[in-house]
Amino acid sequence: MSDSSTASITVHVWRGNSEGGSFDEFQVPQQPSQTILDIVTWIQRNLDAGLSYRFACRVGMCGSCAMMVNGIPRWTCRTHVNKVMRDKQLTIEPLRNLPVIKDLACDMSEFFAKWNQAQGQFQGSTTRDEKIAPISPCSPEREAANAAIECINCAICYASCDVVAWNRDYLGPAALNRAWSLQNDVRDTAGESRLAAVAGDAGCHRCHSQQGCASYCPNELNPTASIAGLKRLTASDFLRRRYRSRHA
């Protein structure tokens, strides 16, 4: 404990499990360098040993520590208290749109199941025994693929999207963003079936461009733009097919 900390912060922390819960209030001493994750850690280490939460890398690389902070989804290890605190108050809740395991830790299974459903994995045509393909980093396809690639699967976008809340099947911004990146990867060979996967009932057309995903993504990715790309791609693919089947 540092003695420079005179002020204290009132922190409301959601406690509970999949059956429901309520808020507990804690007083945490303020420090000059303090993230939301540090607040949660301080509570667990000093005030309530039973508090559950998740983190791993503590520097914004693993996407394990996302929570709702004053109602907004954030990576807590990289969110400085001063940036989000209002009137010395903080409210910390588990990430929205995912089932809670306990307190601040959610079950991310459905998030990754949807990643799979959107065929969010590469399928190449060459093997480990072949040379690496020369690909210009400035080609438009590669630029599009790169723009969407640095996702840390934190599910912050997923929590910010109301369509996910309203439509439990919706694949969600992260999975669709990954699919778009892959569609632009010239080495990938699964484009056709992936396109069908993202055009289904729960796919890209469900998105209403609410853009919470793009506003809150901590890595400043833009799933809205990616999803718009998929809408165009699925539509033109559909029209082309119809045209072909008419004129075959």
């Binding site: 420090q31 303090q34 993230t35 280490r45 508090l51 890398c57 394990s64 190449g124 025994d129 072949e130």
Partner: protein, 575 residues
Amino acid sequence: MQFQTLKTDVLILGSGGAGLFAALHASRANPGLDITIAIKGLLGKCGCTRMVQGGYNVALSPGDSVERHFMDTISGGKWLPDQDMAMRLCETAVIRVQELENELGCFFDRNDDGSLHHKAFAGQTFDRTVHKGDLTGIEIISRLMEQVRALPLQMMEEHRALALLPSRDGDVLAGVLLVDMRSGEFRVVKAKTVLLATGGGPTMYRYHTPSGDKSMDGLAMSLRLGLGLRDMEMVQFHPTGLLAGRDTRMTGTVLEEGLRGAGGYLLDGQGERFMLNYDAEGERATRDIVSRAIYAEMRAGRTTSNGGVYIAMSHLGPDLVAAKFPGMVKRCADCGFDLAAGRVEVVPTAHYFMGGVVVTTDTRTAMPGLFVAGEDAGGAHGANRLGGNGVANSTVFGGIAGDEMAAQASLQNHWVEPDSEVIEAAMERSMLPFRQAAGSINSIRDRLLDLMWDDVGVLRDADGIKRAQVEMVALKTELQACGLADDNRVFNLSWHDWLNLSSLIEVSEVIAAAALSRENSRGAHYREDFPEVGSLDDSYFTIAHSDPEKVGQTVRVECQPVEFSIVKPGESLIH
């Protein structure tokens, strides 16, 4: 005590580069196998492979060669590496990077003509580090993770391995005891083959870089199984970890090497440059030299308010710094520091653990059925790991382990019964804190971290190490008596803090003993009372055994001569 029993052909512990590659390879080698992967966190979202910034060393550039990569690895490791392992590492890295690109979909940075970009990394005679910006690990682990998540394997996420279970006669490995962290229930997984890939991670130091889930569990479990651990004195420190106070988890996290390379200054508490007093290269000297210099400044009391030194970039022009290191500048800004225009406090920070289980080049151990790969395995790096060889090591040997385990498990059609006494004892041990009155686990942790930092850290001497050894025995006893304030086993982080600390203390004892036994200074190990490198021709490595059950100093350290199976000191493969 109650536990559930499961069975599998291949059991993998950990989902870093090593664990995920093993899963992928085992499944491709024999899709009919029943493969289970158990992880302390979420699959692919914990561990250090994700945190790799700099990149991956591979001899793919025209003009480079596997031999040159090998020679750099050997001389970087101060002639202590197991040469066969190092060679296998350098050879297989080529295939692995092609596999990552062609089969898994990683995309490493390119030159304008489309060819792979190779960047310079300290300690190497050729630019051979492939990378994806300065977030290489995210690219590698994300691509691996999405491939593995699509496989039909059993995922046991948030399952912590507690003990490796031998058969009753102790001849082979029969399975692993785990605890489901979400429910607090125990599970025994009987397996024909087990891969230990829990990734070391020297988090027993006040300042450290690895992810919070790593606490040397794998090495602690190996010690209990009676396995020998080599090079345990070899802890790599990164010179510039962020220093932001004791109560923040940001402290210790890496500020990248490139900052010094680009011309950043290190300043003492008074704002004076000091590196030139230590080395003609100044701030651009190698990791170990800079770490020692900073540590010496700190010990001399010339520190900043938090007890470190400053890194200053502003003389290069804040705009240029912001343009060149956007990720670092943003990360510092999120933490409340201005890297581009101001000064940021830094401190050396424990980064990587070279030591580990003694293995063969195909990841087998002295215990049949147990395989070890990645940071848990010793030998590939010797006294020092080159930047860029860490992720190469975990992905190369993880893949090899997957192939080997699949082959072995496919041939074996029976499971072995684990020793029920070992199961009972391990459950009993892990339940200990629930039977004690609540105590202050924070103070035990703080003392361990300070102890290792002060006495078994960047600079070491016999007095300090011995002091630490005495204190560690006390800490161990105190931990045994320290109970938890919350007795619900469901997602109980405080319980896992206790278990982490228990592993860390057990391994710390071994680090201290190995450090005391090596009376010379090589690579990451620096003895102030024995500053000489010692004869290269007579190079030896340490092997430690320990019985953590016993109280007192129970570690036994032997020395074994390095077998120069490929090159001898003074020779080279490059002509």
